[in-house]
Amino acid sequence: MNRSLVILLGALVLCAALFGSSYAVSRRVCERCMSKSVSDLDWLQQEFHLSAAEMARIQKLHEGYLPKCAEMCAKIAAKKSELETALNGSTNVNPAAQQKLTELAALRAQCQAQMLQHFTEVSRTMPPEQGRRYLAEMQRLTLGLHEQTESSMSGSMDHEHPH
């Protein structure tokens, strides 16, 4: 093989290795440093540039919301368990299972309403523009997934039943 070609290929490999290793090391170090001191609310401060006073108010709201959220989650988990029991061994959706499904949906709706209420309260503690952005972002992140699922399902229904 030509000596010059070997030198050039070697230089290219060395360049790629230098760039790749530098990228990997700095990325890992950065991730490690950033994730060391984060609390659950750090994202809010980073994303919406909130002051310490605003963060303190949000922290208070957050601490008030968490027990309510945990309580609703426990209720939903219990209702799901009841639904599984009602469905156990059944080959179709019996009236009892139907009732549990309705109750589960109602609980989820109640929980979602509570969650949206919390988002609204948090958005009010922020400067108006940031509050609007926060609310829109949280609605997109929490309710948007349903829209995606529904639209993908309706797409697949169209595909299966083109008439």
Binding site: L18, F19, C30, H118
Partner: protein
């Protein structure tokens, strides 16, 4: 053979023979073409195709200053890109952590 030893009769005969030989007319710019060929033949032999180009590039790559500068640029560029991506990843992780706390998966 020495010129002085040449018989005058033979010299005259040679001159007559040269005069009798019909020489064709030279093509236009014949002399210029001859000189060009001589110059080309005297010039050093060039390497074939891309070998010269590769050699020049390899010589450039082997220059210590250039090699060091390139290495420094690559390291700095890699580090900057790594920090940027690391920040993005950490930001996404923080967002996911917040969401997991305020909006459990069963509601999303």
């Amino acid at each position: 053979m020495n010129k002085e030893n040449i018989n005058p009769n033979e010299a005259r005969l040679g001159a007559l023979l040269r005069e009798s030989r019909v020489s064709p007319a030279l093509p236009p710019r014949f002399q210029e073409g001859v000189w060009r060929r001589i110059e080309e033949a005297a010039a050093p032999v060039k390497a074939v195709g891309g070998i010269t180009w590769l050699d020049a590039l390899a010589a450039l790559v082997l220059r210590p200053r250039l090699a060091l500068a390139t290495a420094a640029v690559l390291i700095v560029a890699g580090a900057l890109l790594g920090v940027r991506n690391g920040n993005q990843m950490a930001h996404q992780d923080a967002q996911a952590r917040y969401l997991a706390v305020v909006a459990p998966n069963s509601l999303r």
